[in-house]
Amino acid sequence: MTQPDELYPSLVETTCALLPAFLGRELPGLSADSELMDALGMTSTAALELILRLELTLGQEVDVDAIDEADFATVGSLARYIAANLLKAA
């Protein structure tokens, strides 16, 4: 089973690839440090929708019961949460 640390880089990359289409605008310079809420203006509900779209891309579900605002802070924090909370294949 793939460990969360091993999944993290690809999750950051996938999230950065999804974000421009998701938010409907160009987002140059996206990285793990990009702030989802403060800089990109996302709400927690929009972040949950982003997780749904990531699930479709990954083919796996994410357990969001323990998710909190801190996990939505940056691309990296969201990727870290997803990596640690992947469930069975969707």
Binding site: G41, T43, S44, T45, L48, L52, R53, A66, D68, E69
Partner: protein, 309 residues
């Protein structure tokens, strides 16, 4: 101290899946999936043939404690999430008050705290009765609204409103259920039309609501561990997960089972959840419980009341 004498509730039989109002409002299918999968919303109540007096009438019909006590009622307060709930010159609370022998009572609307106006109405009812000084006098708090406009169908990004109503008899002093404390945190910084305000409100929501609960529990001279139940306003499950984490309170003791089938019933959620708690035997005499709500229109209000059953 203000006391709740009796509580009744009414929900329409007809339910719509959330996809129906959602699609009509143009919500993205993925957005609806978030509501269903994460927010745990399923259906909302609608009375397609009844008006607002019909909903309020349904709640009053179940308030057995009112029978024979009508002359004791001095005030009828209608708690509303929205200030305008019917076309002028309809007066739904006055209409049902007169039908139920309460035409002599002063009839008021309370809406300043949006979805937290039910708690404000309870507080106001107790204060009015205490000021009058008649220990036998009662007040009637009504809550419940129709989905009257597009604005009343959806809490953006958060929940769907459901039709329903509740009625609560209040007295200025009594043993059961006694109001121990009330805390209302008014956040004017969330008032305005700026596009940044809604995300700011969402970000501050859990901290502010947990803070209101903590303040009310503290004012009651209690610790959060001494609270048996939280009777919430039914917005969605993730919101309450976050509030509970901040409080260190188990989510299983937040009465959320009406959320999926009924949605967010404006200011009536706490009363409907109170009925559920009583019917399921979740409250024993002496138990302390919290009613908590947030109001999100024209600013933010985060409120909590502590009661002893």
């Amino acid at each position: 101290m203000t006391a709740l004498v009796a509580v009744s509730g009414h929900l329409p039989e007809h339910r719509l899946p959330i996809e129906e109002p959602g699609q009509r409002l143009g919500l993205d299918p993925m957005h609806l999936k978030v509501f269903r999968r994460y927010h745990k919303l399923d259906r909302v109540g609608r009375d397609p043939h009844g008006d607002l007096p019909a909903l309020l009438r349904g709640a009053l019909a179940g308030l057995d404690a009112l029978r024979g006590q009508e002359r004791r009622v001095r005030y009828v307060l209608h708690a509303r999430a929205f200030p305008v709930v019917v076309p002028y010159p309809m007066r739904p609370a006055r209409e049902v008050a007169e039908e139920f022998g309460l035409g002599h009572a002063a009839c008021l609307t309370v809406s300043h705290h949006a979805c937290a106006s039910g708690l404000l109405a309870l507080d106001l009812a107790g204060r009015l009765l205490a000021e009058d000084g008649d220990p036998d006098a009662l007040a009637l708090v009504l809550a419940g609204e129709k989905v009257f406009t597009g604005e009343t169908e959806l809490v953006p990004e958060t929940s769907f409103y459901g039709e329903g109503a509740a009625a609560c008899l209040v007295r200025a002093d009594g043993e059961r259920d006694r109001l121990l404390a009330y805390a209302a945190d008014l956040r004017g910084e969330f008032d305005g039309d700026g596009v940044d305000l809604a995300p700011e409100y969402q970000r501050g929501y859990a901290d502010c609501l947990a803070g209101a609960v903590r303040a009310a529990v503290g004012r009651a001279g209690l610790r959060i561990g001494e609270i048996a139940l939280i009777l919430p306003h039914n917005v969605n499950v993730p919101a309450w997960q976050r509030v509970c984490r901040r409080l260190g309170f188990p989510l299983e003791r937040v009465v959320l089972e009406n959320l999926a089938a009924s949605g967010h019933v404006f200011c009536a959620d706490h009363f409907l959840n109170y009925r559920t708690a009583c019917e399921r035997g979740l409250l024993r005499p002496g138990d302390r419980y919290v009613m908590a709500a947030a109001g999100g229109s024209a600013g933010g209000v985060f409120s909590a009341m502590v009661f002893q059953h």
